[in-house]
Symmetry: C2
Subunit: 242 residues, 2 copies
Amino acid sequence: MSKHEEIAQTLTRDILTGQYRVGERLPSERDLAARFDANRGAVREAMKKLEQLGIADIQPGGARVLPLNEASLDVIGHLLAVRDEPSRELVDQILVVINALVQTAVIAALQRQDQDMLDTLREVIRPICSEQLDLESFYDAQTSMFRGVMEASGNLPVQLIAKSLLDQFGPQMAFLRDYAVPDMTTHRALARAMDAALAARDLDAVRQSFSESSKFHRERTQRAFDAYEASHPPARLEASAS
Amino acid sequence: MSKHEEIAQTLTRDILTGQYRVGERLPSERDLAARFDANRGAVREAMKKLEQLGIADIQPGGARVLPLNEASLDVIGHLLAVRDEPSRELVDQILVVINALVQTAVIAALQRQDQDMLDTLREVIRPICSEQLDLESFYDAQTSMFRGVMEASGNLPVQLIAKSLLDQFGPQMAFLRDYAVPDMTTHRALARAMDAALAARDLDAVRQSFSESSKFHRERTQRAFDAYEASHPPARLEASAS
DNA sequence: AGACCAATGTGGTCAGACCAATTTGGTCTG
DNA sequence: CAGACCAAATTGGTCTGACCACATTGGTCT
């Protein structure tokens, strides 16, 4: 890892864990350069990164910590990675958003009235419901489905948001894979419902089936968290939940 | 505007308007420095910006142009600004996404079962339906409503996405304000429906009323586009639509 | 013709300096 | 004593020039 990445990571972690209060001034670039035994250029690059993440506001006179709701979408990945395991609440929120985006994309795709598009859509769903998948392949298939839906929607903003979110979310959730209870029967049933709704071009049914799938996925993820925490040292009891 | 901003803007514009093909190599930093009569540091900063926007991939050996669907959400603002007026299609897509986010946020807020939250929510909606607003104030009120809903949702990813989108979207849409046909009667009716749905905690009604409001807003925006184009030189006829 | 290799060009990093603007701390004034 | 004021120190912003490791390129050798 290069110097500026190291500095940026340390500072990002410090800010996101509350080492610096919101509004507080960060040390000057020269101080940080001395502390990290780095060139000021390296510190500058790191600070630029913080600014891009929207967690610090750099101005002549000093850099200050911004509140989290001023941040860029790109902080999500860092937020998930800051602790030993991601926050259950944040993970659930992300799943909610992804569901909203997928539904928006599917509906947009359906409203384009393009038969080829619809066939493509059903094709990316089929692997989920028809084949005998293990959990690993299921995740891959689901991700492919998401990407396919996004592309079919033709809605660029949705595509960009979903890509950013999935790119940050996926890697951080890898640790849960071994703890998720496979339930391919239900998965397949949910996927069939989605496929049927698509075939019928029934918007309400599409919404309904995707919502149900998302709800199941969210519950399953929370159960995976339970399993993970049960088989791991619950850390120190102090402040482990915040 | 500082040098690196000028360079970044020019390069961003060139890339987004297709002056460079996807996959094509950009000129080297030293070449660009010579072309813009700048030092390499300024060019480097500009290139960093392109990389952050997700429109260029910088690697030892050279920087290459990325396809648009690899970009960051932050390109939206640049995409809207690249042409004389924003693309109608993109604007509509953004409105669709914002509606999806708002609905997600409202539902999340409602499901928190927090009476104070709900009261706050209704308060941010009230100005839209009760007062005699001109169009300008209506926009402000609507934006306030969005922000209030986002905050009330407690869903950080939704907040961050909406903030990013609105920050990029708002300024670029200012040019349309004078061409939007005011229809405060309908606006008020739609807002009252939203308020009633919230008061009843009826999720389906909430979805329905917000969808209708969004639909009306989208149509009104497209009509504003018509009015704008009617009163502006339709540019040269060649390739004006692409 | 293909494999190989050296020269060139590329981005990545660093060091040091200067500038304009802000911040800061003391001083002066009421 | 409080507030306005000013000068010195500090801050981020910019620029110059140089070196490095690696990718690309073009020629050479087999």
